[in-house]
C-alpha cells in the first residue's frame, strides 16, 4: 500500500542448490509484492557459521531494518543475531530454528518432515522389512533434526530394519551412485527414504529395472512429476517449501509494522502427498509443475504468508531490479 520504506537484509549460506535458490527467489518476490521494501541486501554464498556471522555483521553495518536469515547453525550465529537485535534490527530466522531468544523463527518442522514421511513409508511396507535410509549431509543440523524424526518413526515400527544408511551430501550424483551400488549388491530392501535427493533415485530404479519399492522424498518438481508419471511407482512427497523464505519476509514486515506474532516461533507443518490413494493423486496432480526446474520444490507459495504470483517468483526479481 505504501511505497517502500524498509531495507531488508538476507543471509544464506548454501549456494547452487535448487531449494535454496527458490527460497531466495521467494524472498525477492515477496519483498516486491509487498510494496514495502525499497531494497533487499542479500548475502548469499557457500560458507559456515563464522562466515554467516560476518555477513550478518556486514548487514548490521549496512543499517538494514530487518534481517531474514537461514542459519548455518542454530547456535553458531547467536552472537551476531544478538548484536542485530541490540542495533534495533528485526531478526527472523527461516527454515531452521536459532537459539537466540530475541529472534523470530518461521520454519519448516524438519523433525516432523522426516517423521511424517518415514511413518507413511513404514505403513506402506506393511510394518516390516528393510529400508534404505538416504540421509543428507553428515554434520548438518537439518540432517540431524530429520534423523530424530526418522528414528522416532522407526521406534514405532519394531519390525522395520535399516538395510543401509548413507549420506548423499544432498548431491545428486553421489545419491545416484550410492543407490546403484546398493542395487548391485542384490541385498533385499522394501522401501527407500531420501532426504530430498529423490528423482535420481527413481531414475536409478527404473534404469536398472529394479523392483519399484515405495520411495519417500521431498516435493521437488522432478519427483512430484515422477509420482504421477512413472508406472508402478508408489511414493510420497513431503513438503518442505522453499517459499518459506517469502514467509520470512512477510513476518519481518509484520513485525516492522508493529504486528508481532503471539509466539517467537511459527512452525509451518509439512504436508504429505502420496500417490497410493485417489485423494493423494489429485493433490499431486494439482501440485505438479513440469515447467519448474526439477530441483525446485513445487510448493512455491504458502497460503496466508506469501502474496506473490508464480510469475513473480519465477522471474526472481526483487524491488529495484
Amino acid at each position: 500500500s505504501a511505497e517502500g520504506k524498509y531495507t531488508i537484509g538476507i543471509s544464506n549460506t548454501v549456494q547452487g542448490n535448487g531449494w535454496r535458490e527458490e527460497m531466495i527467489c521467494a524472498m525477492k518476490a515477496q519483498a516486491l509484492a509487498s510494496g514495502e521494501v525499497t531494497k533487499l541486501n542479500i548475502a548469499h554464498r557457500n560458507t559456515d557459521a563464522a562466515g554467516q556471522l560476518e555477513d550478518i555483521r556486514n548487514l548490521i553495518s549496512a543499517k538494514v531494518n530487518a534481517i531474514v536469515v537461514n542459519p548455518a547453525d542454530p547456535a553458531g550465529i547467536k552472537a551476531g543475531l544478538e548484536e542485530a537485535t541490540k542495533a534495533g534490527i528485526v531478526v527472523v530466522a527461516v527454515d531452521q530454528a536459532v537459539t537466540e531468544p530475541s529472534a523470530y523463527i518461521i520454519s519448516n518442522n524438519q523433525e516432523q518432515y522426516a517423521y511424517l514421511g518415514a511413518k507413511w513409508l513404514f505403513q506402506q511396507m506393511g510394518g516390516k522389512g528393510e529400508v534404505f535410509y538416504m540421509r543428507g549431509a553428515a554434520g548438518a543440523s537439518a540432517d540431524s533434526d530429520r534423523d530424530k524424526g526418522f528414528k522416532k518413526a522407526l521406534a514405532e515400527f519394531p519390525d522395520v530394519k535399516v538395510a543401509q544408511e548413507v549420506f548423499t551430501g544432498w548431491q545428486q550424483d553421489q545419491g545416484k551412485q550410492q543407490i546403484l551400488s546398493f542395487l548391485a549388491t542384490g541385498a533385499p530392501f522394501n522401501g527407500i527414504w531420501t532426504s530430498g535427493i529423490d528423482n535420481v533415485i527413481v531414475d536409478a530404479l527404473v534404469e536398472s529395472q529394479a523392483p519399484l519399492v515405495p520411495v519417500v522424498g521431498a516435493d521437488n518438481a522432478g519427483f512430484v512429476g515422477q509420482l504421477s508419471s512413472v508406472k508402478g511407482l508408489v511414493g510420497a512427497a513431503v513438503t518442505n517449501p522453499g517459499s518459506i523464505g517469502g514467509a520470512g519476509v512477510t513476518l519481518a514486515l509484520q513485525i516492522l509494522n508493529g504486528k508481532k506474532p503471539a509466539q517467537q516461533t511459527v512452525l509451518v507443518e509439512p504436508q504429505l502427498w502420496e500417490n497410493a490413494t485417489e485423494e493423494g493423486k489429485a493433490k499431486l496432480k494439482a501440485a505438479a509443475d513440469p515447467s519448474l526446474s526439477p530441483e525446485w520444490p513445487v510448493s512455491i507459495s504458502i497460503p496466508d504468508w506469501t502474496t506473490y504470483t508464480k510469475e513473480q517468483i519465477v522471474a526472481c526479481k526483487g524491488p529495484g531490479e
Binding site: Q15, G16, Q177, S181
Partner: protein
C-alpha cells in the same frame, strides 16, 4: 664401455618381481584394482556381477575424463580446478537450451563457456604466468557466478535431458555401457596424443623444463593455451555425458568430481610437479577410486570412519605405488 648390467648378480625372486612391476607400472595398479574387487566380493558375495561392472564403469568414465584433464595439465606442472564448473555449465546450458533450441545449437551454446573459460585459463597461465591453481580457481568462481545469473533467466522455461544424452549416459548395449562409445575413442586419442604427437611431447617438455623448451623454439603460451582449451572442452563433454547419467541439472552437478579427479591422476602415477605420467594409469586410478567408493558405501560403519578409511587408502595406494616404481 662395459655395462654393469652384464655383471653376474644373484637377483632374488622378490626383486625380480619388483623390477618387473617397476618396468610396467600399470601392473601393480591393476593388481590393486582386482584386489579391491575381490575384497568387495568377499564382503558382499554376489555383488560383482554384470550389472555392477557396467554400473561402475558408467560412473568411472566421467571421473576418468576429468582426470584426463588433470593428467594433461599436471604434466605441464599445472592443474585445472575449473573442470567441475565447466562440466556443470555445459550440462546445465544443454539441459535448459534444448527446450527451445535445435540440438546442434544447444550443443554449441553448451560448449561455448568451456571454450571461453579454457581460453581465459590458458592466457592467464600461459601469457600472464598466473599460477594455474589460482587461475582456474578464479575462473571457476566466475563461472559459477555466471551460471547462477543465467539460471534465473531460464528458470521459467524448465529443463529437459536430451534423449541422446540419456541413451549415452545410462544406456547399455549387450551389457556394455553406451558411454564407452564416447570414452574409448577419447581415451585412445588422449593416449595417442601424449605418446605420439608433437603436442603431447611438448606437454612433457614444458612441464619438465620450460626454459629448455623455449630454447628449442617452443612457444610456451601456445602450448598452454591449447592445453587449457582442450582440457575445458573435455570437461564440457564430460558435463554432457554426466547429465545424461544423473539426469538432473543442478548448479553444482560436477563439482564433487574435482578433487577425486586430481586423486585419480595422482594414483595413476602422474607427477603433480610436471614432466612425468600418462593417461593409462589415470584410467585405472579412476576405476580404483570408483570401486573404493562402492566398497566404503557397502561397509556398515559411521560416515566419519568411512572418510578416515578413504583417506588412508588413497595415501597408502599412492605410497605403495611410488615405492614400486622407484625400484627402477
Amino acid at each position: 664401455m662395459s655395462s654393469s648390467a652384464t655383471m653376474p648378480q644373484p637377483v632374488s625372486f622378490g626383486r625380480r618381481v619388483k623390477r618387473f612391476m617397476a618396468d610396467r607400472p600399470l601392473v601393480p595398479l591393476i593388481i590393486l584394482l582386482i584386489l579391491l574387487v575381490v575384497i568387495l566380493q568377499i564382503l558382499r558375495p554376489g555383488i560383482v556381477n554384470e550389472r555392477w561392472i557396467a554400473n561402475t564403469i558408467k560412473f568411472a568414465i566421467p571421473l576418468a575424463i576429468l582426470a584426463g584433464c588433470q593428467t594433461m595439465t599436471m604434466l605441464t606442472g599445472g592443474i585445472d580446478l575449473s573442470v567441475g564448473t565447466v562440466a556443470t555449465m555445459s550440462a546445465f546450458i544443454m539441459a535448459t537450451q534444448i527446450v527451445s533450441q535445435d540440438p546442434v545449437v544447444a550443443f554449441l551454446l553448451a560448449m561455448m563457456p568451456a571454450v571461453l573459460i579454457g581460453l581465459i585459463n590458458g592466457i592467464g597461465v600461459g601469457v600472464f604466468r598466473v599460477h594455474p591453481l589460482i587461475m582456474t580457481l578464479g575462473t571457476s568462481l566466475i563461472g559459477t557466478g555466471c551460471l547462477q545469473v543465467y539460471q534465473r533467466t531460464v528458470i521459467a522455461s524448465g529443463a529437459k535431458i536430451p534423449d541422446f544424452l540419456n541413451w549415452l549416459g545410462t544406456g547399455l548395449t549387450y551389457g556394455f555401457p553406451n558411454a564407452l562409445l564416447l570414452f574409448v575413442p577419447l581415451a585412445v586419442l588422449i593416449v595417442f596424443t601424449l605418446r605420439r604427437t608433437g603436442f603431447g611431447r611438448l606437454l612433457y617438455a614444458v612441464g619438465d623444463n620450460e626454459r629448455a623448451a623455449r630454447l628449442s623454439g617452443v612457444r610456451y603460451w601456445q602450448v598452454i593455451t591449447a592445453l587449457y582449451v582442450i582440457s575445458s572442452l573435455l570437461a564440457g563433454i564430460t558435463g554432457l555425458l554426466y547429465i545424461g547419467l544423473i539426469k538432473a541439472p543442478s548448479l553444482s552437478l560436477a563439482e564433487p568430481l574435482v578433487l577425486p579427479s586430481v586423486a585419480a591422476a595422482v594414483i595413476g602415477g602422474t607427477s603433480i610437479f610436471g614432466g612425468r605420467g600418462g593417461y593409462t594409469g589415470t584410467i585405472i586410478g579412476a576405476l580404483i577410486l570408483t570401486v573404493l567408493t562402492t566398497l566404503l558405501t557397502i561397509l556398515q560403519m559411521p560416515e566419519g570412519a568411512r572418510r578416515i578409511l578413504f583417506g588412508l587408502i588413497v595415501l597408502f595406494v599412492t605410497a605403495a605405488y611410488l615405492r614400486i616404481v622407484e625400484e627402477r
